[in-house]
């Protein structure tokens, strides 16, 4: 979330799309109700189903799963063609005025530079025109045909209400009503917020779904405002924290992009990641990259990291390709992997195409499960009737299952969706011989270290040199680890303006990332968390819930990254002169000498408004990107059909089969054939969660199992009638990858839609069942889902695929 949970109460208009907060995040959704009650805010829900969020909305519109960009692109067209935008904001705080290379084109559904064979784009033309002064060229009048604003206007002019309705199945009047309501928040003192979740991310166009809404929020001037922003409602209690610690292949802790084969040495690595400012006077905050990276190297290698050995740069693994979860299971399926660990992760249930995942696991030499619960994955080799058909004698994988503790049994910090890091305390020991994750990992590491010290082996250096300063080596304490994450001075750290003045003494915790250095005098495990444990102590354990601003900022409750800032990009909540767009909801303002107010300013504290330092400090431009060349599948979002589409073409590009589905999405060899066709699988399926269950965990919890004991699917009355299915009948739902059996629930909450001249039915499939648990045993829903992901981040397309359904 750019904002935070309580801030939802400050909104004038709340959009719930690509999510269902009332059921998936009930206690956070309470703040939406608060906004409705106290501010008379309105709630709009757009979803294939009439969800419980929709039930309390002011306006609901149905949409075909997988057509969100068509809908939102239509909103952009509405805002631009009716001139309902926040002009000053768009002109100054976005790259609307920037001139783009004249070779940039969008033709027949494809952007310039497409390589069909590689299914990817060359980005030679996706760039700014650069001036002789080394800065990007701009046209402040926004009139040049090559400025971002005009290119955007042209791009979205195709998204007419007729075409939007034809593609999405949303009735035109409902679509226009929503456009009108959103457009009202283009007034500088009105804000709209968006609450989305996996209903947007889990598509082959997932990243662009979110970007389309980001464009809308920028056009309306809602970023940085109280009650505004782009709010991803994340899944697990600490999925935000684990993302920040970067337990995925592309990045090191603090989103430092991981080295690849092209980064032959530390110098090359740093140069590529340390940008130069693209406009004068901008903060260009990523220029500090070397400080963050060097401080991480010092945290990991301590005295062994010196300028003589590039601070241990060679010891870090270099990435040669994709290692996301789909890529991993693809490699495993090809027999290229020998070992695998699942720490609190149940991929047999949660990754697409269960059969492929199960077959892949059976090719491993060893599998290690670290979990509090007996997961489905841990028994992938064991027959469980028709729910898991397998012959164990043919599975040679050695499987270890290690009992882990859960939340109540550990002292730790969790980071909420609103980026607030909160400390919690252990209440009791876990059952039997269970241990904490830290202890389990430490035991394995110390054993390996002893083996490498004694017997040698390949590349022992990073193992033997890894810092391990913990008082009880077998049991590093959460406090020691959070202090390491937050960072400390190794030598005295001096004031850059006055080299005689010591700002942090050697051995002291740093107060924040501004004190980190690239000369080895500081260490910090994760720069964005820097300052969370300062000399003042553990700030994540703070419990002062006072809220003098009335905005719900509670600055002394826990610690929000970065720098305890609760609303990021908050400089954009003020006009150029530093006055809040809405003084009644002042986040920060210029006081005449400094920025101050009800949040930590997202701006250099003494940057006077007339210096022209723009609010989006993490870009070298200083402004937000309406045109974003970093995206894999286009600098502007474009509607593409899901890989399994009920239409035979993309209504936006009926003549170009290459542009039916995302042309830049990765499809593994052989997987294109596993996609079903509409003639065999005529119905759109989408998966979702229920208020009574959490993922694949609560099927092990008795009360939840009592509340929702049995697997079911939901269908419309129309489809039920066509197929002769009644509520309570047992049905078989098939995709091209397998089948599940479940109880049918016939409901008015799912409607048949008119799409491109035909009736499109939706089958709704809750995800929560499996063959392990105290619920009735069920089929793993991801038996059905396709093995293809988003072009940018490879999140699988769980939310829109094709099935058939029949009564058993």
């Amino acid at each position: 979330m750019t904002n935070h949970w309580v801030d939802l109460k400050n909104s004038d208009l709340v959009i719930v799309m690509g999510g269902n907060a009332a059921e998936a995040h009930p206690c956070g959704f309470k703040w939406v109700i608060e906004a409705k009650k106290d501010r008379k805010a309105k709630l709009i829900v757009v979803d294939p189903r009439f969800t419980r969020s929709a039930a309390v909305s002011d306006f609901y519109a149905p949409i075909r799963a997988g057509s969100d960009i068509a809908f939102l692109g239509g909103v952009i067209n509405y805002l631009l063609s009716k001139d309902k935008i926040h002009h000053e904001y768009v002109k100054n705080y976005t790259n609307a005025a920037f001139l783009i290379d004249e070779g940039f084109k969008f033709e027949d559904g494809l952007f310039s530079g497409y390589n069909a064979e590689k299914r990817s784009y060359g980005k030679d033309t996706w760039k700014y025109q650069m001036g002789k002064d080394g800065f990007a060229m701009v046209d402040p009048t926004l009139q040049s045909p090559n400025c971002v604003f005009q290119l955007m206007k042209k791009h979205y002019s195709r998204y007419t209400p007729e075409l939007v309705s034809k593609t999405t199945g949303t009735p035109q009047d409902a679509f226009l009503k929503i456009c009108e309501m959103m457009a009202e928040t283009s007034a500088p003192d009105k804000t709209m917020t968006i609450c989305y979740a996996l209903g947007w991310t889990e598509h082959s166009v997932g990243s662009q779904n979110i970007r389309t809404m980001a464009l809308i929020q920028l056009l309306l001037g809602n970023m940085g405002m109280a009650g505004g922003g782009i709010n991803a409602l994340r899944g697990h209690a600490n999925v935000q924290g684990i993302t920040d610690m970067c337990l995925y292949s592309e990045v090191l802790p603090g989103y430092l992009s991981a080295p690849t084969d092209a980064d032959v040495d530390r110098k090359t690595y740093l140069e590529k990641r340390t940008p130069k400012a693209l406009r004068p006077n901008q903060m260009n905050f990523p220029q500090n990259f070397p400080k963050w990276f060097t401080s991480l190297q010092k945290a990991w290698y301590g005295a062994a990291a010196t300028d003589k050995n590039d601070y241990g740069y060679d010891w870090l693994p270099k990435k040669d390709g994709a290692y996301d979860v789909l890529a991993m299971f693809e490699r495993m399926h090809q027999g290229k992997m020998n070992g695998f660990f699942c720490q609190g992760f149940n991929p047999l249930a949660s990754v697409a195409n269960k059969k492929k995942v199960g077959d892949a696991l059976a090719k491993l030499k060893y599998l290690v499960i670290i979990d509090p619960l007996a997961t489905d994955t841990s028994e992938f080799w064991k027959p469980h009737g028709e729910f898991n058909e397998v012959d164990p004698t043919k599975v040679a994988t050695e499987v270890f299952r290690l009992p882990a503790n859960l939340f109540a049994e550990e002292t730790a910090s969790f980071t909420s969706s609103g980026r607030v890091i909160q400390w919690h305390w252990k209440a009791a020991d876990g059952p039997g011989e269970s241990k904490g994750d830290i202890e389990i990992l430490a035991a394995l590491f110390l054993k390996l270290k002893a083996m490498y010290a004694k017997d040698g082996g390949k590349l022992p250096e990073p193992i033997l040199n890894l810092t391990w300063p913990y008082r009880i080596p077998a049991k590093p304490s959460p406090a020691e680890l959070l202090m390491e994450i937050s960072g400390k001075a190794l030598g005295d750290v001096f004031d850059p303006k006055d080299k005689t003045k010591v700002i942090v003494k050697a051995g002291e915790q740093v107060a924040g990332f501004a004190q980190l250095r690239d000369d080895g005098s500081t260490q910090c495990g994760n720069w964005i968390y820097s300052g969370c444990w300062s000399q003042a102590g553990n700030l994540t354990a703070r419990r002062d819930n006072s809220d003098p601003s009335g905005l719900g900022q509670t600055l002394n409750w826990g610690f929000a990254w970065p720098a305890n800032r609760r609303i990021i990009y908050n400089r954009a909540s003020c006009d150029l002169s530093g006055k809040p767009w809405d003084p009644k909801r002042t986040v920060i303002k210029w006081t005449g000498t400094a920025w101050g107010g009800n949040d930590i300013p997202d701006m250099r504290p003494d940057a006077a408004p007339d210096e022209g330092v723009m609010p989006f400090i993490m870009t070298p431009e200083g402004v937000a990107r309406l045109f974003a060349p970093a995206m894999a599948d286009g600098p502007f979002p474009e509607h593409y059909e899901p890989f399994e589409t009920p239409l035979d073409k993309n209504p936006f590009h009926p003549g170009n089969p290459k542009a039916t589905s995302n042309p830049a999405a990765r499809v593994f060899k052989g997987d294109m054939e596993t996609f079903g066709k509409v003639k065999d699988f005529p119905y759109v399926a989408t998966t979702y969660r229920l208020v009574e269950h959490f993922h694949y965990w609560t099927k092990h919890s008795m009360i939840n199992a009592v509340l929702q004991p049995d697997q079911f699917v939901e269908i419309s009355e129309q489809l039920a009638q066509e197929k002769g299915i009644a509520t309570g009948d047992k049905v078989k739902v098939r995709s091209n990858r397998g089948f599940i059996k479940a109880v049918a629930v016939v409901t008015k909450r799912i409607k048949t839609l008119d799409v491109d001249g035909k009736k499109v039915h939706t089958v709704g499939i809750p995800i929560h069942w499996g063959f392990k648990g105290v619920t009735k045993p069920g089929f793993i829903t991801n038996t059905l889902t396709p093995f293809v992901g988003d072009a940018n981040c490879q999140t699988p397309e769980y939310k829109a695929f094709l099935v058939n359904i029949e009564k058993i």
Partner: protein, 195 residues
């Protein structure tokens, strides 16, 4: 003389009959409905967080015992933390059932192994588990860690063992996991954030 209803019963229990006390000229002042104090009043309260969705609701966990060395704490109740500015004491239908998650019959209690081709689990000791896993790891790493790529660039990656990391673990466990794995050379690393 102030006597509560509870003390009154106690006095009665000590041998005198109630009627005789009444005859002695005093009776309980206000008749409290409570016949025993709430067990939570004797429990230890620990501030914790719901592990489900990312609202990260504050919870209060009540355990028996006072956390003294020999007292085994047992969780007897979990409820929303009224001080938490986000959930303000509320919990949803998922969070309200946390006790049953902690006490799930499917909690793992001991390290186990399923041998190649076998159809059953076998209990093993932690030492055996760690020793066997470490042997697998070292063998695979020593055999397959790539020190230099075809162009002679030092790459030091080990991509034949993968790791999926938990979003239910704390930041500290997550950080330590990254610190260890990256320095073993692991690149095949992912988490729930992706899906």
């Amino acid at each position: 003389m102030q006597v509560s209803r509870r003390q009154f019963f106690k006095i009665c229990g000590a041998g005198m009959s109630g009627s005789s006390i009444a005859l002695m000229g005093f009776s309980p002042t206000s008749a409290l409905a409570e016949v025993r104090s709430y067990k939570l009043a004797h429990a230890t309260e620990t501030r914790n967080m719901c592990p489900y969705c990312s609202v990260s609701c504050g919870v209060l966990i009540y355990t028996t015992g006072d956390k003294s060395k020999n007292a085994k704490a047992d969780i007897i109740h979990i409820e929303g933390d009224p001080d938490n500015p986000v959930n303000r004491g509320t919990l949803c239908p998922k969070g309200a059932g946390l006790m049953d998650m902690v006490k799930s019959p499917n909690r793992l209690k001991f390290p186990e192994v399923r041998e190649a081709g076998s159809n059953e689990w076998k209990r093993i000791s932690w030492d055996d588990a760690i020793n066997r896993i470490a042997a697998h790891v070292k063998k695979d790493r020593d055999a397959n860690l790539i020190e230099k790529n075809a162009d002679g660039v030092t790459v030091n990656r080990w991509n034949t063992t993968g790791f999926l990391a938990s979003s239910a673990a704390g930041n500290e466990a997550g950080y330590l996991t990254s610190k260890i794995l990256r320095n073993l050379g692991v690149v095949a690393l992912d988490t729930q954030a992706r899906i």
